[in-house]
Symmetry: C2
Subunit: 342 residues, 2 copies
DNA sequence: TCAGGCGATAATAGCGCTACGATTTATTTG
DNA sequence: CAAATAAATCGTAGCGCTATTATCGCCTGA
């Protein structure tokens, strides 16, 4: 009348108990060794590491996370990793986090707050150690979801608005201002901003607005020509053609980023427009080609790398319990790279 | 004489039981609803969704994963997401996986097998639904770790060697061959391959080797000039200068990627070297600037996007139990974009 | 000699959820 | 109308690990 085993379950091949058994200690000791090796005697440590090696034991982070009510994951949501800016930040952050054995869970919002909201929900399901979002603008539901979480919430790549918790980045309107002031300093009076995808990209819009204001404040004329698609050199060339048709008097151009600026330079070369003599050009991004093109592109270099590192540092501090409450604002600034295009 | 509660534990604010209670059903039913909504009656479904909304319930994927012995995570390891090729694949994959509610865990190997091994170990700790690696070359320990896992192991961006499980990509030597044959077809006989970081980037090396062999097979001379750093336009310009010094007779150049090619075009422009008359140039990658530069760059376009989508499809099939064993090879091919630089 | 203290190890009770079988309820059929 | 079948729901036993408390030796010093 004996019953068969009621529940059969899938399982992990090698568990912590297996290691404990082989090392002749209790599972608790193995767990302790994994988390605080210094608290375990040398003898036990050795036996345990040997057993781990022999069995090729891989700890189960889900079990660990469940028991500890927190995980070794950090969720980062960016518009897209195809964008070199965010790729840089993601990359530097992952490098920094790896040292703390934290893993990056990546999500792409595609500049869509609805999408972001869904991704935040999914991210929270992992009980991450921190969550990183791009920008300061989020749906109401996203804010609600994040309002009461006990982990750091870090908003990157934008400063200058109400923030949820920490914010790391710079002021995009100041980028626009710097570009305008630079062109004015170079003696230009008929300025133009060439922008791509500005209906979606808030930060490009902020740069544009800063540019227009500063230009006008300095007594220069300032117009905008834009294109709805993602920035590319091709669109840059098209925008230049349109710009010169609509505003032939233009003598200084700022671009929403270096892809656009590169396209402008290509078009100028084809049409024998002298840069910077006839037209000064300034970009944004300092991408890999910006110093190498003809002429080398004056541009504003953001701090994508630093943003990622600072975010990782914040997370590390929080993890190590340095109570220094995370509600902070870190301005990573930007620098003007003056080259020959202006 | 009563004891205080022995164990106090941290916890999640809202659990499935809370939802069940509010909806007047058992936790099992809530779980079922979340996994297979169609198996739950309309009445119960409604009550449950309402409760979820009201409580703002977020399921705990770690608990779920632990119980189900599998997680909703897919681990992807690429050399770096700063590289536009991999960014493209990661991005398209993430988009495709999102529909299945799978999350991407990202790791950067930096072209280092040791690093990759560590990352694989960390990745396995999550009991992912699949694991995606770049290339076919891995450390012995990595192979051992992956030998017996029950999940799909997908190697991307390289074909033509022994694979662990599935492989999705193309043959890089064929890329080199196509480039050489193209230049020969254009009447070039003194060919050169310009490469960056080839000591680390196996796939660039394969393209180079294919190029040299095909060029020589076609009776053309073929040399190599390389630089140890990451590809960039600046390095492309430097390499061109060195190339013309060492091999002034060169009349056709293939580059390990479009960044290098762009630098070559920039340098040619500065030095008034006519492209393609004096020098034909072909790149690899078809990056965002390649069609827009002067002259538009002939290049070979890989299928980074497709690779990501195919990988996601494979994972989906496996998840839906379509036994179609995953050990497969999918050749995503590449296409030659003939433009004016050759 | 033995209480007191300390470092190292062990035992225990869940973390929140899913899978499985068992049970209940609704629906059909002989 | 009872029996058989199908549909919906529930109860239970862990998944593998961590945090907390309890225990075990061993050394010190009065």
């Amino acid at each position: 009348m004996r019953k068969p085993p009621r529940h059969r379950r899938k399982m992990q091949s090698v568990t912590m108990s297996d290691v404990a058994e082989l090392a002749n200690v209790s599972p608790s000791t193995v767990s302790l060794f994994l988390r605080k090796p210094e608290a375990v005697s040398a003898t036990a440590s050795q036996a345990i590491s040997r057993a781990i090696d022999k069995l090729n034991y891989v700890p189960n982070l889900m079990a660990g996370g469940l028991a500890a009510a927190s995980s070794r994951a950090v969720s980062i949501l960016v518009p897209s990793v195809r964008n070199a800016f965010f790729a840089e930040t993601v990359s530097s952050m992952q490098t920094a986090l790896k040292k703390q054995r934290l893993q990056l869970i990546l999500g792409h919002t595609e500049y869509d707050e609805q999408e972001e909201e869904e991704l935040v929900r999914m991210a929270l399901s992992w009980a991450p150690a921190a969550i990183v979002l791009t920008g300061l603008s989020h749906s109401a539901a996203t804010r609600r979801l994040l309002a009461n979480v006990a982990i750091p919430v870090i908003e990157i790549w934008e400063l200058g608005g109400p923030q949820i918790d920490a914010a790391i980045g710079f002021h995009h309107d100041q980028v626009g201002i710097a570009a305008a002031e630079h062109l004015v300093r170079q003696g230009r009076r008929n300025l133009l901003f060439l922008g791509a995808r500005m209906h979606q990209d808030r930060r490009a819009r902020q740069r544009c607005n800063g540019f227009l204001q500063a230009a006008r404040a300095a007594g220069a004329a300032a117009k905008v020509v834009e294109h709805p698609d993602t920035a590319s050199a091709e669109i840059g060339s098209m925008l230049l053609a349109e710009a010169l048709r609509l505003h032939p008097e233009t003598d200084g151009i700022a671009c929403s980023n270096d892809h656009i600026a590169l396209g402008v330079l290509f078009a100028c070369e084809r049409q024998k427009i002298a840069v910077p003599d006839r037209l000064a050009v300034i970009g944004f991004g300092d991408l890999s080609f910006s110093a190498a093109c003809n002429p080398p592109l004056t541009t504003i270099r953001p701090s994508g790398d630093l943003i990622g590192r600072e975010a990782a540092r914040l997370i590390e501090e929080h993890l190590h319990g340095e109570k220094a409450d995370t509600h902070r604002t870190i301005d990573t600034r930007f620098t003007l790279q003056h080259r020959r295009s202006s």
